[in-house]
Amino acid sequence: MRMTLESESPRKATPLQVAKAVLSAFVGIRRRAAHEKDVVTLTPLQVIVAGVIAAAIFVLSLVMLVRFITSQ
């Protein structure tokens, strides 16, 4: 059963594609074609993991930026 489902479902998204989708979500802009591809290839788990990682990177980069500015 599991085998059939996997063979029928489209290919899973690559990490790069997940990253692109999540980063575009941060800005709030996505191309329609890319979005339609996301809908069939991205799994919720991928999106949540990538979202948490991206949010952490976002916070860390802001912290680094303000540290850089205040160290001047």
């Binding site: 709030g28 979202g51 912290v63």
Partner: protein
């Protein structure tokens, strides 16, 4: 709403027995009934909160003390805020969710129908506690709606009633959110993929997650205040080793996402109205979904912009300033998408569209003043002045409230099967729009000139602008009576019968149902292509 129950009593569904009269409303598990209850509750609290606002504005009409003691004035500001936030705006959006989410995703009802009943009936209890607190010794809480310690650890029993009310209303919100999330994730009609859901449903899904994340934080904060008050703890008492600033951090970790809880469903309503009256599909649907999610995530990392004056390190001030300003990006995407939806559309301006356009225009102004306040050195000047009062009324009144009015005019004909009075609806919009600006625009000036908020008296230099604000506030209040009249007239069946689709450009599952929809809808799920 009686027309909506014309089909009641046909022995629909699993409910073997139907009560009538009052018992029907107390025992109902029907999403449409409960939606109606939420909306009437919110409308009632809107007028209670509005009355308090007019009592404030009457005092501020002239310098000097005319009507109220300063202590009572502080109670009025506090209770106006608490009642409008927790009694009017939030329940109104939940009312919309109850009516619309099942009909928009093709579900027969909410997932937990009995819990839905409980979620609603907790609210009047909380409201009674809040209103009754005016009559206990010392009166209602006067610590401001933010109930900052140490003010909140020093108030009389009115504070305890407010804490209990917040606990109860918070529990109601959490249960409502669990219900909404479960309904959306599990009860969509076949073919209704997540990325096909109407935007109102999307915004509510994200809002419900925000509510579940932050309502327990508020409950924690007010419980700590309660134990500080009565059980000898010192969370916020510096003399006992605690820190009053801790309260502000915990409160605003709830409070900032709360701001988005009160606006995201409004974004959803506007995103339904604009395509209908532009007769074009929503521009950038997926961008709208992504932008909503993005705003929700960012809302968790900006809370300390409410506290720039408490003495944070420069690193923290800069961090919260930058993070706050970045929220303008996804919000800007939304405003751009609404305008792009209207671009080259066959626009007509019925009342819902007027409110949606009013929303976009005035909410954007509130957004811009938000950016001004996000700049730390500017905020240090403007903290707790009328500029802040102007800012958040631009986003909450012209934002949330106008979206609620627009949504009411948009879906009311569907709910009751009859058209409202379009002429009076337009009067309601224009008077609200004009008086809103007369009330709140001058507050930018008084704030920039240094008038602090929550004061019953002020220097002569602020007299003229305050007089204008008070005149505007009474005009705005009276304009809302038109809304009530329009509602009563329409519900009593004065308007002409409407078609299933109601609006020419309307699109979505709810418009495939009869107007008014039968008591039970989509018992057999529709197929979404």
């Amino acid at each position: 709403m009686e027309a909506a129950h014309a089909h009641n009593g046909h022995g629909h569904g699993a409910h073997g027995h139907h009560y009538s009269g009052l018992m029907r409303w107390i025992t109902t598990t029907n999403h449409k009934d409960i939606g109606t209850l939420y909306l009437f509750f919110a409308l009632t609290m809107f007028f209670v909160g509005g009355l308090l606002a007019l009592m404030l504005r009457a005092e501020l009409f002239e310098p000097g003390l005319q009507f109220w003691r300063p202590e009572f004035f502080n109670q009025l500001t506090t209770m106006h805020g608490l009642i409008m936030v927790f009694g009017a705006i939030m329940p109104a959006f939940v009312g919309f969710a109850n009516w619309q989410v099942p009909m928009m995703i093709g579900a027969p009802d909410m997932a937990f129908a009995r819990m839905n009943n409980w979620s609603f009936w907790l609210l009047p209890v909380g409201a009674i506690l809040l209103v009754a607190s005016f009559f206990v010794p010392g009166g209602a809480t006067a610590a401001g709606w933010t109930i900052y310690a140490p003010l909140s650890t020093q108030m009389g029993p009115g504070m305890d009633l407010a804490i209990f009310a917040l606990h109860i209303m918070g529990a109601s919100s959490i249960m409502g959110s669990i219900n909404i999330i479960t309904t959306i994730l599990n009860m969509r009609a076949p073919g209704m993929a997540l990325m096909k859901m109407p935007l109102f449903v999307w915004t509510w899904l994200i809002t419900a997650y925000l509510l579940i994340a932050v309502m327990p934080v508020l409950a924690g904060a007010v419980t700590m205040v309660l134990t500080d008050r009565h059980f000898g703890t010192n969370f916020f008492n510096a003399a006992g080793g605690g820190d009053p600033v801790l309260f502000q951090h915990v409160f605003w970790f709830f409070g900032h996402p709360e701001v988005y809880i009160m606006i995201l469903p409004g974004f959803g309503i506007v995103s339904q109205i604009v395509p209908t009256f532009a007769r074009k599909p929503l521009f950038g649907y997926s961008s709208m979904v992504y932008a909503t999610a993005s705003i929700a995530i960012l809302s968790f990392i900006v809370w300390a912009h409410h506290m720039f004056t408490v003495g944070m390190p420069a690193v923290a001030q800069l961090f919260f300033m930058y993070a706050t300003m970045l929220i303008a990006v996804p919000t800007g995407v939304k405003v751009f998408n609404w305008i792009a939806t209207m671009w080259k559309g066959s626009l007509t301006f019925e009342t819902p569209m007027l409110f949606a356009c009013g929303f976009i225009f005035v909410f954007s102004m509130g957004g811009f003043t938000g950016l001004v306040l996000a700049i730390t050195p500017v905020d240090i000047q403007l903290q707790d002045t009328y500029y802040v009062v102007a800012h958040f009324h631009y986003v909450l009144v012209a934002g949330s409230l106008f979206a609620l009015f627009g949504g009411t005019y948009y879906w009311l004909p569907k709910w009751i099967g009859r058209m409202y009075d379009e002429t009076l609806g337009k009067w309601h919009f224009w008077l609200s729009m004009i008086f809103f600006n007369i009330t709140f625009f001058p507050m930018h000036f008084t704030g920039l000139a240094g008038l602090p908020r929550r004061v019953p008296d002020y220097n002569m230099q602020f007299a003229d602008f305050n007089m204008i604000s008070t005149i505007g506030a009474f005009g705005f209040g009276l304009a809302q009576l038109i809304f009530v009249y329009v509602l009563v007239k329409a519900i009593r069946g004065a308007g002409e019968k409407v078609s299933d689709k109601v609006w020419e450009g309307a699109d979505g599952l709810e418009w495939t149902l009869p107007s008014p929809p039968p008591y039970h809808t989509f018992e057999t799920p529709p197929l979404v292509k």
